[in-house]
């Protein structure tokens, strides 16, 4: 505590201020000398406004995929986490294999498997959006299950014992005793993961799933304004991600 306060004091010393000024001056000189101001001035962000409807549609698909990741991830992930506590070694083994497979292979490869390999084996053709939805749900369930498992393990052993000692049915033990406090302790991790999927859904652009990144790319190719469009996309991802993480902080504080 004291050490921290001393550090704060140090930062307020005149030397700190001088250092900051010097750094800023250096950056200013470098900017003046190296930045291509002509090019910078030629950037035309009005194109973003022109294509606002297309971008909004792309954002909707991205949000849909995020919702799929969050909802499927949480439900299937909870089921997987519960199964990972099973008494049957075979069940535990299958869950571990599933989780490790989807966590430790690139999502790009998973997309290819689902979109191109699955129809070969099953004769079941999927659209790009369907493949993307399946891939993101499968991967999310694997990642979420790890968080839920951690949450379940954070519930004190005494809670299990009290539930057992009362002879509660398994359904009640899970639904009323273990999961509520477990989920509460997981909120930050769950939201962080959802935000990761919000950004990671951009990988589905390789299948031309019409989410934000695909749309951005298409417009960019059409009007040849990549810097403006991709910067705009980054701003959209950042703003929504930031709002979501701030909301979680609020939620977390309210839960306490």
């Amino acid at each position: 505590m004291f050490a921290l306060e001393e550090q704060v004091e140090e930062k307020r010393s005149p030397w700190g201020l001088v250092a900051v000024m010097a750094t800023l001056a250096l950056i200013g000189v470098a900017a003046w000398k190296y930045v291509n101001w002509q090019l910078l001035a030629s950037l035309d962000f009005s194109v973003v406004w022109d294509y606002r409807l297309a971008l909004a549609k792309g954002l909707m698909v991205t949000l849909y995929l995020t919702a799929i990741a969050g909802l499927c991830g949480l439900t299937a992930g909870t089921v997987l986490a519960a199964l990972s506590q099973s008494r049957l070694a075979l069940v535990r083994w299958v869950v571990v294999a599933y989780v490790e497979l989807f966590r430790n292979t690139p999502i790009l490869v998973q997309l290819i498997w689902i979109h191109f390999a699955l129809p070969v084996f099953t004769g079941w053709n999927t659209t790009a959006l369907q493949s993307g939805t399946i891939a993101i749900a499968l991967q999310a369930s694997a990642y979420f299950s790890e968080i839920v498992r951690g949450g379940i393990e954070s519930v004190p052993k005494g809670q299990w014992e009290a539930a057992y000692a009362l002879g509660l049915p398994a359904r009640t033990t899970w639904g009323r005793v273990i999961l509520p406090p477990a989920l509460k302790s997981m909120i930050p991790a769950l939201v962080n993961l959802t935000i990761s999927f919000f950004k990671a859904s951009s990988i589905l652009s390789v299948l031309q799933v019409s989410e934000l990144m695909t749309i951005t790319n298409r417009i960019s190719n059409a009007v040849y304004k990549p810097i403006e469009l991709f910067t705009a996309a980054a701003v959209i991802y950042f703003v929504l991600g930031y709002i979501l993480s701030q909301l979680t902080l609020r939620l977390e504080r309210a839960a306490k």
Binding site: A162, Y164, A165, L166, G167, L168, T172, R176, V177, P181
Partner: protein
């Protein structure tokens, strides 16, 4: 081997046997915590289990409702047998209440929900009836005004009384207490012992692992001494505290009395 079978000294020898423990053994890895324990408990017996820490007292009482699986031997409780099928163990636990050292209340549920959860979910008792039970029991343990609070808002002594009410709400035939006052501040021990004493007086069959020698002497019909995984003394309190059976027993008494 008949491990540590000793003469029973039941206060009410004519009542039926409700717990029969037959030469149970339990190990953690190579360490044997319970080394062949046999005994019988009769209905309305109040039995206190005392002995040095690490002697197997808690493990023993936790085997009686299947919280600690046993490696060898057999336990019969009421109409149930351990080891047994999961469903049977679940049934057994609904008839055998347990109170833990650290209360183990469900911290995210109110006092009322803590008490009604078991009866409604496990016994299919109606919500109204469960609520009535909760209120009656909380009155009985002296905290009728705390029904809508969360456990975190109560003192340790109050929490332990809620835990007792939660166990009693299942209308158990037998109550197990695993060091019910060991985690309490000294000034709260009395209020909890008071509740347990009343329960004993009401004729409940009880086993109590405890370090409260005064309580054991006053309330118990039988006192067990457990050390090194063996139940070596089973006597009425007067005999137990006055005439030690062996050196280990004498050494223990000299420390606690």
């Amino acid at each position: 081997m008949e491990g540590s079978r000793v003469e029973t000294s039941s206060a009410a020898a004519e009542t039926p046997v409700v717990i029969s423990v037959e030469n149970i053994r339990k190990s953690y890895g190579s360490f044997e915590v319970l080394r062949g324990i046999s005994t019988e408990i009769r209905e309305k017996d109040v039995t206190c289990i005392v002995g040095p820490s690490g002697g197997g007292k808690s493990t023993f009482i936790r085997t009686l409702n299947g919280l600690e699986p046993i490696n060898e031997g057999r336990i019969r409780i009421l109409d149930y047998t351990l080891p047994g099928w999961r469903k049977e163990t679940e049934q057994l636990r609904r008839s055998v209440g347990m109170v833990f050292q650290s209360f183990n209340l469900f911290m995210h549920l109110t006092v009322r929900e803590n008490i009604t959860l078991g009866p409604t979910a496990a016994l299919k008792v109606s919500r109204d009836e469960a609520n009535a039970r909760a209120e009656r029991l909380l009155d009985r343990v002296g905290i009728g005004n705390q029904v809508d609070k969360y456990p975190g808002q109560l003192s340790g002594g109050q929490q332990q009384r809620v835990a007792i009410a939660r166990a009693l709400a299942m209308e158990p035939k037998i109550m197990l207490f695993d060091e019910p006052t060991s985690a309490l501040d000294p000034e709260m021990v009395k209020e909890v012992l008071e509740v347990i004493r009343d329960l004993a007086a009401s004729g409940m069959t009880m086993l109590v692992v405890t370090h409260e020698m005064g309580f054991a002497r006053e309330v118990a019909h039988r006192v067990f001494f457990m050390a090194d995984g063996v139940l070596s003394v089973d006597a009425d309190p007067e005999t137990f505290f006055a005439s030690p059976k062996d050196e280990r027993h004498a050494a223990f008494l000299s420390k606690v009395l």
